[in-house]
């Protein structure tokens, strides 16, 4: 939240700077050589328009960072797990490695890992299982160079299913760890 404000302020300041040369040009009209001026009576008024600084928060201009660009592996945020398991499968290791690299290169970046489970069994046990899943992702991130204070692992258990179905396909979608960067949660 705070980062967005700072970005907006910066954008406004930059837009103001960009407008300055135009104002100087306007001032230049006043400073023009007398001979070059049209020989009519009344002093002409320069037409000036105050500049409008554009701040775009819709994510298209400044927002499409490397974290959300679909062509970047960093836009992939979900790690799927097997039934009643909390070890990260090999196929998701490149994804976790890429995020670890990002955290290593961006010391100020922070992330939340949310663990999820399918609907079967005890809600509390599933909450604990989701926690083991998010912590498995966190542990791998730390091993690959992320700092402890950059990653928080929490669990949503079976409470926030991505797929509302009651079959294996839906359950597989819900056995998941999600990565969210600060500002996204």
């Amino acid at each position: 939240m705070r980062t967005v404000w700072i970005a907006a302020l910066l954008a406004a300041v930059l837009a103001g700077c960009a407008a300055t040369p135009e104002e100087q040009e306007g001032a230049g009209v006043e400073d023009r050589k007398p001979g070059a001026r049209p020989p009519t009576g009344a002093q002409s008024q320069p037409i000036t328009q105050p500049p409008v600084a554009s701040v775009d928060l819709t994510g298209k201009a400044g927002g499409r960072s490397i974290l959300t660009d679909p062509s970047s592996i960093l836009s992939k945020r979900s790690i799927y797990f097997d039934f009643d398991r909390y070890d990260v499968r090999d196929e998701f290791k490149p994804l976790v490695e890429a995020h670890a690299r990002y955290l290593r290169d961006n010391k100020q970046a922070k992330m939340l890992v949310q663990g999820n489970t399918d609907e079967r069994g005890s809600r509390e046990y599933n909450l604990a299982l989701g926690q083991k899943r998010s912590e498995a992702v966190k542990r791998m991130l730390l091993l690959l160079g992320a700092r402890e204070d950059q990653v928080e692992a929490v669990s949503l258990g079976e409470e926030k299913p991505k797929s509302e179905g009651h079959n294996e396909e839906a359950w597989a979608q819900n056995r998941r760890g999600d990565i969210l960067y600060q500002g996204e949660y």
Binding site: M1, R120, G121, S122, R123, E124, Y125, L127, A128, L129, G130, Q131, K132, E135, E152, A153, V154, S155, L156, G157, E159, K160, H166, Y185
Partner: protein, 422 residues
Amino acid sequence: MRLLFAALLLLAAASTATAQLSIEVTGAGAQRLPIAIAPFAGEGALSTGIAAIVRADLERSGLFRGIEVPALNPPLTDSSNVNFTEWRSRLADALVLGSVATRPDGRFEVRFRLYDVVKQTALGGVAYTLTKTQVRATAHRISDYVYEKLTGEKGVFSTRIAYVVKRGTRFELQIADADGAGEETALASFEPIISPAWSPDGKRLAYVSFENKKPVVYVHSLLDGKRHVAANFKGSNSAPAWSPDGSRLAVALSRDGGSQLFIVNADGSGLRRLTNSAGIDTEPVFSPDGQTIYFTSDRGGSPQIYRMPAGGGDAQRVTFEGSYNVSPRISRDGKNLAYIARNGGKFQVALLDLASRQALTLTDSDKDESPSFAPNGRMILLATVIGGRGVLSAVSSDGRVKQRLSIAAGDVREPAWGPFIQ
């Protein structure tokens, strides 16, 4: 900012236009005592008839069968002379007669007397003073009196239950009478609420709310709606269980990694770690004497129920059959353990006799969760899924009597049966 946001999420609990739970009894005890409950003289002055509520209460227990009583003119009262021969001919073993009078101050007085028809004696009676909004509560008190006199164990008709209803994206923590009537919303939120647990005095609920986008344990005073955080550490905070004296909570926290058991004072102070395992430890519950904590752990490779001293220490495994036994609950006498067992892909309520080590599967449903003993140990309340919808169900601890509590709209889950009213 965050506070304001949380406040916005918690909607005012004002709507009362919600459909109440209705209860269907789908089984009954082998021997049901036939009882006649005559309409109370003058009960037409009340919003609801007392006799009908008492009869429904007693029948729902599975231990009684109500006998039809024809309209009597003049109506019998608690001071009428009882013609035992006539009631015997109607096959009644017991009889309740009562009356309602309006007091000068506008309140009502309800009196009743209970008779043993077989022995031809009066077993006692009580008089209650009530306002017009206390009719159901009064009827439940009468049911409790009759139940205790005739069975020797305390009735639970005056107790309350807590549960969570999900309607679309809205979650409501509700409190209702044990018969599902008179529901009130204690908390409404757009984020999940799970694991409500009654304080031993029945005045507070501990539960887990996700209103801050992660599980946090709260303690909520039902009388004034005041709530405070009992555990909000880094990671997940969940599975609150009250100590029998109501001073402390056992909780599952992931602040040190994994899911481990801790004990904390109900006000959130004095945190102390209880378990130290590499795996998952969760769902703690105190034995009634406060000496032991039962909990779920996967330390042996699959989730099973263990027990350990309440102050921490070596744990012993309690369940051995099957590869998934979770959600332990102990009966008030400390003799029985109810839990959820996975049997061939079905999640069902099981009961373990802790002395004989005999386990019994009580239900034939397949998605049972959150068992909860009635305070007299006779019934176990649970959540299950029927027709794709979450419903509450209750089963007697011998498996014979089954009740289904359904609600018109929405999924019902996470039931917890409250303590005896003091």
